[in-house]
């Protein structure tokens, strides 16, 4: 039997990589300052967070569902962390673990309700988004935590590689590698994908689909909290409005990255590095357009168009699935 892994050239990721390179070339020629040290550093910080948000949404899309509460979970985790560090004066590392725990727990609630009621996660997470965010606002009285430990905020402003790259990006890329390993090389990852692709068949093949779906939501909450940690170190404070009203500012990048990256919206097929490249592409595009003095509203307009085009691509991908590896 010939075990031919399909040529990298024909993959979605290669196409994305080409697009990324093309945009880099275009923006560095037509704009001033795109390749400046300042801009690249700023880009790397934004990209890091967008990758993480994209990954968090990707793991729920894998189940054929979605997580509208992602931003709310992120903000809750950030505010919880701010409270731990500033008010309770818990050291940084335990605080970070508590934040991740909070994110995972809120994700677990989403997963548990979705699985037990059988209601689509769209409705469940729409409700919990409002509940989480409302609860958080009530408890914090919408006050920000601005006196975080210096060591914590220093991480967000640290510069590596001749001051070009933020360490935040390293965290996100490392997370990609871990997730890639999990989905490609572990039994649990394969079970998550199988459960997402065809729950009935997976269940009858001896996989506890409900448990897998809950894991996906927990993982989403965990990654959402991780994104919030990165964001908090970047802006140096935990602010209730850091992800917009109800955390909804996160939703567009959250869907854009995985869908552009080749994760199937109906579930059962994902691409970790595709999501990473998707996030890079979207951030580059936004940044380049800003530098070209395109207005904020036009940028939103373009991002919406891109999401629609990516969804169209997703539909065609479903019909003409030519790719042979399920994780890449």
């Amino acid at each position: 039997m010939n075990k031919k892994i399909p040529n990298f050239i024909f993959t979605n990721q290669f196409g994305l990589l080409c697009l990324v390179l093309i945009f880099i070339v275009i923006f560095s020629t037509v704009t001033d300052g795109f390749t400046s040290r300042f801009n690249i550093f700023a880009l790397s910080r934004v990209i890091a967070i967008d990758i993480m948000i994209g990954l968090a949404m990707m793991v729920v899309i894998l189940t054929g569902g979605l997580n509208l509460a992602l931003g709310a979970i992120g903000v809750c985790a950030a505010m919880f962390g701010g409270w731990c560090m500033e008010v309770l004066e818990i050291p940084i590392i335990p605080s970070i673990l508590l934040m991740l725990g909070m994110g995972s727990f809120l994700g677990w609630i989403n997963g548990f309700i979705t699985v037990k009621t059988g209601v689509h996660s769209f409705i469940v997470t729409l409700a919990t988004m409002s509940i989480y965010f409302g609860f958080m606002t009530m408890l914090t009285e919408a006050e920000a935590f601005r006196r975080l430990p210096e060591l914590f905020t220093d991480f967000g402003s640290a510069k590596l590689f001749n001051k070009y790259i933020s360490p935040l990006l390293l965290v996100s890329v490392a997370t990609c590698f871990v997730l890639f390993y999990v989905f490609r090389f572990t039994d649990i990852g394969r079970k998550l994908i199988a459960a997402g692709a065809n729950p009935e068949a997976a269940e009858l093949s001896g996989i506890s689909v409900n448990r897998m779906f809950i894991y996906c939501h927990v993982l989403s909450g965990f990654l959402g909290a991780l994104a919030a940690i990165l964001l908090t170190t970047r802006i140096g404070a935990a602010i209730p409005s850091m992800a917009g009203q109800l955390g909804m500012d996160w939703l567009l990048p959250a869907f854009l990255a995985p869908v552009i990256g080749g994760t199937l919206l109906s579930g059962g097929k994902l691409s970790v590095f595709g999501t990473m490249l998707g996030a890079v592409l979207v951030t580059l595009l936004t940044n380049g357009l800003y530098l070209l003095d395109v207005g904020e509203f036009w940028i939103r307009f373009f991002l919406g168009i891109i999401l629609l085009m990516a969804v169209l691509l997703d539909r065609t991908r479903e019909y003409f699935t030519l790719r042979k590896v399920i994780v890449s």
Binding site: M1, N2, K3, K4, I5, P6, F185, T186, D187, I188, G189, R190, K191, I193, A194, A197, N198, E200, A201, A202, E203, L204, S205, G206, I207, S208, L264, G268, K269, E318, T321, K324, V325, I326
Partner: protein
């Protein structure tokens, strides 16, 4: 003048990578029932799609009533009175029978509203013509599968169909229901002058009702519009598969007659089964026979923990146990279930051969930190993929790109790889070509001989009688009788039918 109402001359049709039809010809005599036979992938569906205007042939001619015509889309075909009844139901389940029948031609009141009285009157006419005793106001979802099938035919006739294509109409019908269908088909051919193209894998039916036969093999005609009187079963099979049929040796001897591996005692389930007793010995094949809706598949799903058993005992290897999920069934008790619906419940179509075959063994073969690589998987399952002679270009081929027979082999292979002691096999050969069918039969016998205990669900009476050691007959979610199988077809089948009809 012309006795052929439909003729296709030397049609060619290619799809990327495959030549689906190669100089295929077909002639349908007016007022005849014409069998279109061939293994899966022989080109039957392509031919049907050309006749119904879904595909257009690359070359070759199509004549309707002696005149050359071009069909550009399914609507064109409908205009010429060509109608097809697919394997899949095309009725809207929540609409009434009458609404479904009149859907393409809804009668309206002068105000432009739908005239429901008129629907009832008009549809009643078609139902009566088919001797169907159904109230047009009945909602489709309340009908039995057989009645739905008949309604589809009535719907086709209501579109003034003169040429009716039936794609495996009996695959989900019981023998009695099939018999009724055949009486009706003969009646509409005689009274309405309809001509019928009949696709089926069951040769008994073909000999029962068809006048002419066309056989396709690898896209070519193995025979064209041959009178069925010139053929017998042997010849027909040879035409279809290019060699003689291997008849499965059936009389198996069970070594230790009493080595009960699984027993159900007075079991009740949440789905409505009651008083279920069942005993399965090591190396034994027991058959569950019954009409569609008798609760056989449902009982097995309760057994593996998909649905709940509410009362009674489940005894595995002499110990009373509770099985609360398919995961427990597989991992703790080594019970596997091969679903009848391989596309929905058996396989993951968007994943590849390797992932589908290994889904049951990931937990078994993982190393530290859950590490499982493609290499480890291939090591474990490659031998089964090869043993079952699965035709696939590579282990990384997507399941959706395999033929039905090969898909079924994969859904069997994954359970062989899991190494089960008890294997529940649900309708293993529905829609499977003769060659693969014979192969699967041999495999089931070999598995049992090697110590696996098998519960076989099948609505295919010959299959049941050639494979099972004893046959349990189910009716209305209860056991209605046990037949010791001595492989004497007539005696055993009449005993089974007795249990079904008492």
């Amino acid at each position: 003048m012309n006795e052929f109402c439909l003729e296709i001359r030397s049609a060619n049709k290619s799809f990327p990578g495959v030549k689906a039809l190669d100089q295929a010809s077909f002639r349908l005599r007016k007022g005849s029932i014409h069998a279109l036979l061939g293994e899966n992938g022989a080109g039957k569906s392509t031919l049907i799609k050309i006749i119904t205007g879904v595909h257009k042939q690359d070359s070759g001619k199509l004549f309707i009533n002696g005149k050359e015509e071009t069909l550009n889309n399914p609507n064109d075909a409908t205009k010429f009175g060509i109608s097809v009844v697919h394997q899949e139901r095309n009725l809207i389940r929540r609409f009434s029978v009458g609404e479904n029948l009149m859907l393409n031609n809804l009668p309206k009141t002068p105000l432009g509203l739908i005239d429901y009285d008129e629907i009832t009157i008009k549809s009643k006419k078609w139902l009566e013509m088919m001797d169907l005793d159904i109230d047009p106001k009945t909602v489709v979802s309340e009908l039995t599968v057989a009645k739905m099938q008949l309604c589809e035919i009535a719907k086709a006739l209501s579109l003034k169909a003169k040429i009716l294509l039936l794609d495996e109409p009996t695959s989900s019908l019981s023998p009695q229901e099939s018999e009724n269908l055949f009486t009706l088909l003969k009646k509409i051919v005689r009274d309405e002058g309809v001509s019928i193209v009949f696709v089926s894998h069951k040769l008994e039916e073909v000999f029962n009702i068809c006048d002419d036969v066309t056989v396709l093999r690898d896209g070519e005609n193995a025979c064209t519009s041959e009178d069925i009187k010139n053929l017998d079963r042997q010849k027909l099979v040879r035409l279809m598969i290019g060699r003689d049929e291997q008849i499965v040796k059936s009389a198996r001897k069970i070594k230790n007659a009493k080595d009960t591996i699984l027993a159900l005692r007075n079991v009740k389930t949440e789905l409505g089964h009651r008083n279920i007793d069942l005993e399965l010995n090591r190396s034994e094949i027991i058959g569950l026979y019954g009409l569609v809706g008798a609760g056989r598949t449902e009982l097995m799903k309760c057994l593996i923990g998909q649905d709940k058993i509410t009362d009674g005992d489940v005894i595995v290897n002499g110990k009373k146990v509770t099985i609360n999920s398919p995961k427990t069934a597989l991992e703790k008790f080594k019970i596997g279930y091969i679903s009848e619906d391989r596309k929905k419940e058996g396989l993951i179509l968007i994943h590849n051969v390797l992932d589908n075959t290994s889904i049951t063994v990931w937990s078994q073969i993982r190393k530290a930190f859950g590490f499982v690589s493609d290499g480890m998987i291939a090591n474990k399952v490659d031998s089964y993929i090869r043993q079952l002679e699965v035709k696939t270009p590579s282990n990384y081929q997507l399941i959706s790109n395999l033929s039905g027979g090969n898909q079924q082999k994969i859904s069997v292979a994954k359970w062989l790889a899991a190494g089960t002691d008890i294997l529940i096999i649900d309708e293993p050969t529905v829609g499977i070509d003769i060659k693969t069918k014979a192969y699967l039969h041999e495999l089931i016998i070999k598995l049992a001989d090697n110590g696996t205990s098998i519960i076989l669900i099948s609505s295919d009476m010959p299959e049941m009688i050639s494979l099972a050691d004893k046959i349990l007959v189910m009716k209305d979610f209860q056991m209605s009788g046990i037949v010791e199988n001595d492989h004497d077809y007539d005696a055993v089948s009449s005993k089974i039918m007795e249990f079904i009809h008492t």
